[in-house]
Symmetry: C2
Subunit: 254 residues, 2 copies
């Protein structure tokens, strides 16, 4: 049997520790090609680059495998990967390992997860991996164990059409991790705050900040699973239709 072709992308950029941790594990399963942003792209969501051209450069950071940097977003990396570098769909797309949680509604802001969602749109089995630790020198040992388990399971099972997996790993030692839970996206949200400052010319600028409000979650949610010491896996789609509201709105007189 031919080795699967695995496309690796991320949003923290090619120099992050997380993508090295991911490449190390998925290389056990197949032929790996890396396309990562040349600078951090956190919070880029599903952005694509329309108003500027893109550059794609070969990189030698990973020995023994093809790797490229891209001047665009994580979703640009996926598109360039499929349509320009590989010239075909990979057998598996993995994104991450993100430095920081992508639970709940963070899936919408996350470049890591948007790259996986783009893979789902292309009907490629796709997974976004995130570690709940923003430290650039975070310990990815537990995450690597989860990556290995999840990739093995995907290769041994039928992957549903047009979805991806949102995998989050708690900040725990490998031996403390309790297992994995298949769950849903929690109903948490950001209460934003702007840190207002004044520059050297007396002009105002703002840093986006805030508190993530995630208390009182359902037991079948990702936030709850992580609190209990499990890695969370949310099957993730891209149908934004709120089907339950169609009939009620049809009754409005528009």
């Amino acid at each position: 049997m031919q080795k699967p072709l695995i496309l690796v992308v991320n949003d923290d950029g090619i120099f992050s520790k997380g993508i090295r941790a991911l490449v190390e594990v998925v290389s056990e399963f197949g032929e790996v090609v890396v396309i990562a942003p040349d600078k951090p792209q956190s919070g880029m969501g599903h952005a694509i680059t329309l108003n500027q051209p893109l550059r794609l450069n070969e990189d030698t950071i990973f020995s023994n495998l093809q790797s490229y940097t891209c001047t665009g977003t994580p979703v640009d990396c996926v598109k360039l990967g499929i349509y320009e570098v590989l010239k075909r769909k990979p057998d598996l797309l993995v994104s991450g390992i993100n430095h920081g949680s992508n639970v709940s509604t963070n899936v919408l802001y996350s470049g890591t997860m948007s790259a996986a969602v783009e893979g789902a749109m292309e009907n490629i089995p796709s997974i976004g991996f995130s570690l709940c630790d923003f430290d650039s020198d975070a310990n990815f040992e537990a995450s690597q164990m989860v990556v290995r388990q999840v990739v093995r399971a995907i290769l041994n099972n039928d992957f549903p059409d047009h979805i991806c997996l949102n995998v989050n790993v708690p900040k725990l030692k490998k031996e403390e991790l309790k297992g994995v839970k298949i769950v849903k996206q929690a109903n948490a949200f950001w209460e934003d705050r702007f840190d207002k400052r004044v520059d050297q010319f007396g002009k105002t600028y703002y840093w986006l900040s805030g508190d993530f409000k995630d208390e009182g979650q359902a037991k079948d949610s990702d936030v709850y699973a992580l609190e209990c010491g499990f890695a969370s896996i949310v099957p993730t789609h891209f149908d934004l239709t709120s089907h339950k509201d169609i009939e009620a709105i049809k009754k409005w007189e528009i």
Copy 2:
């Protein structure tokens, strides 16, 4: 009864014809505040600005109402609007009118729609309006009629919690428009293509391009409604959980 407070945002930037067309109509219904990007932000999806500070500047392009430009994305505009400018949630958030269609999976790439989705996350009745015409001098008369009908209906009915509406208007004259249809997101997608060019230094660059594959759509989809001459309205949520796949994946041995 107090006039509703309406926040207007867009992704084409404050100088676009579409936002002027939108402001003109919603001003009939309430007090309007505008916060728009200072440059085009199409395709920015749900991106937020984390690695750079944001600037917010008062603008005088609209007479008799408060307006601001923001250096960030459409979603940044919503966040600045709620948490810094208004210091409260508006009664209604409208985004657009976009120059170009945001049907089907374009909802994920669209800055216009992502701003409306951000409003839904804040539980503000929110609507993204798009005209299926990319021309910067497009005719917004039919769109303005639809905006008026939809805003009136929202003010006269209970808006469901935590959703927004994705409204697309076909490129037709006002008198040719057949009405509105409440529908679902079509299963269409982009077959991408990169236009590879060489710059003056002999280095390669790429423009993202492609074909939107939207043939053979279901009769209750947005693409079909527009083809038949109707404006389409898709109730849009932000639960990306693919609930139908949870049980099957639980059976995998992970």
